[in-house]
């Protein structure tokens, strides 16, 4: 099954080449050069994984992560950054990031994370459906 990935980074050269390499590996890639653009795209469609730069103009990666998780708790967000500190990593994981990678990242490792993200998301969505069903069944006087 083709993975759908949203790649968010203010370095447009990076976005372009990453998108090309991922597409060549059968991934459906959408790009966003800012947090605002990413949040707009998330409103319009769902993704198996969001790969997010930590340091971006105006709204940074952690703030963007917080908004994404509030809007779509099932989203699987992988932070990819050139300025990683242990504190940033801890903050990101506390906010619900799936993983945290440093630039330059190994494409093989990133692809593994994307596969895991897709599997995680399917699991979370299944759990959400199960919860909904339980509520519907529990709410009726059979």
């Amino acid at each position: 099954m083709t993975e759908k990935v949203l790649l968010v980074d203010d370095e447009t050269d990076f976005l372009e080449v990453m998108a090309e390499r991922m597409t060549a590996r059968g991934i459906e890639v959408t790009t966003a050069a800012s947090a605002h653009e990413a949040l707009q795209k998330i409103e319009q469609e769902t993704f198996d994984a969001v790969i997010l730069d930590l340091r971006m103009p105006e709204v940074d990666g952690l703030e963007t992560l917080k908004i994404i998780k509030a809007k779509q708790p099932e989203s699987q967000v992988i932070l990819l950054t050139g300025q990683a500190t242990v504190q940033d990593g801890i903050a990101a994981m506390k906010l619900g990031a799936m993983d945290f990678l440093e630039k330059p990242a190994d494409m093989g490792v990133l692809l593994e994370k994307i596969h895991s993200a897709q599997a995680n998301k399917m699991l979370v969505v299944e759990q959400q459906l199960e919860e909904k069903l339980k509520k519907i069944i529990g709410g009726r006087g059979w």
Partner: protein, 213 residues
């Protein structure tokens, strides 16, 4: 060592830390772009191995992209090297326009994060000044942070230098600030004073002024 001295040294170290962190972030971005372009070259070579024809134009584009990033990283290395040498001597004769170019480079990342562009207007003639360069850069950095924070996204901050027989002046002027008056950054006046300068807030901009007796 007094507590005040400790505080001043800590502030100077924090300034250095901020500058180095911003540069290392940009270096990492350059390396990441080089890494992905090199990866793409490998991908294309592997595809050629399985029968897909090689496109020389594509290789040229990728080589150009790598070259651009090498140039970017080389420029950053030159700038951080200049900054590292700014503490070699307590007094060096420098050209003020060159100092403004370095100050803009040191604040490039914080400006980009606010979507503010820094523009340096070189002086029409060389403006020579004997100063502790590290201290001067710190004063300019703090003034620039004030101007950047006050600026609206998409606007510019202009740095210019002018001199006469009676004074030398650096002006830091936001083109579109949220507030009309800029408050000079706290705790930096004393440092400016030690450089023989004063910080003035005038008509929506900040100025670092050296007055000659």
């Amino acid at each position: 060592m007094t507590q005040t001295t400790d505080g001043a040294q800590l502030a100077a170290l924090r300034f250095m830390g901020k500058v180095v962190a911003a540069f290392s972030h940009d270096f990492k971005n350059s390396l990441a772009i080089i890494n992905e372009n090199a990866g793409l070259l490998k991908d294309l070579t592997a595809m050629a191995g399985s029968g897909r024809p090689l496109d020389p134009g594509r290789f040229e584009t990728l080589a150009d992209r790598i070259g651009q990033q090498v140039q970017r990283a080389d420029e950053m290395t030159r700038q951080i090297n200049c900054f590292a040498h700014s503490m070699d001597k307590t007094a060096q004769e420098v050209d003020l326009s060159e100092m403004l170019a370095l100050a803009a480079a040191l604040s490039r990342r914080p400006a980009a994060l606010q979507r503010v562009v820094l523009e340096v207007a070189p002086a029409s003639e060389p403006l020579r000044l004997t100063v502790f360069v590290f201290g001067l850069q710190r004063v300019l950095y703090e003034c620039l942070q004030t101007a950047i924070s006050a600026s609206k996204p998409g606007s510019q901050v202009r740095l210019s230098a002018a001199g006469s027989a009676r004074m030398m002046k650096v002006t830091i002027a936001p083109t579109d600030a949220a507030e009309k008056d800029l408050t000079p950054p706290e705790k930096i006046e004393q440092l400016a004073d030690s450089l023989g300068a004063g910080i003035e807030s005038e008509a929506g901009c900040l100025a670092v002024v050296w007055r000659r007796a």
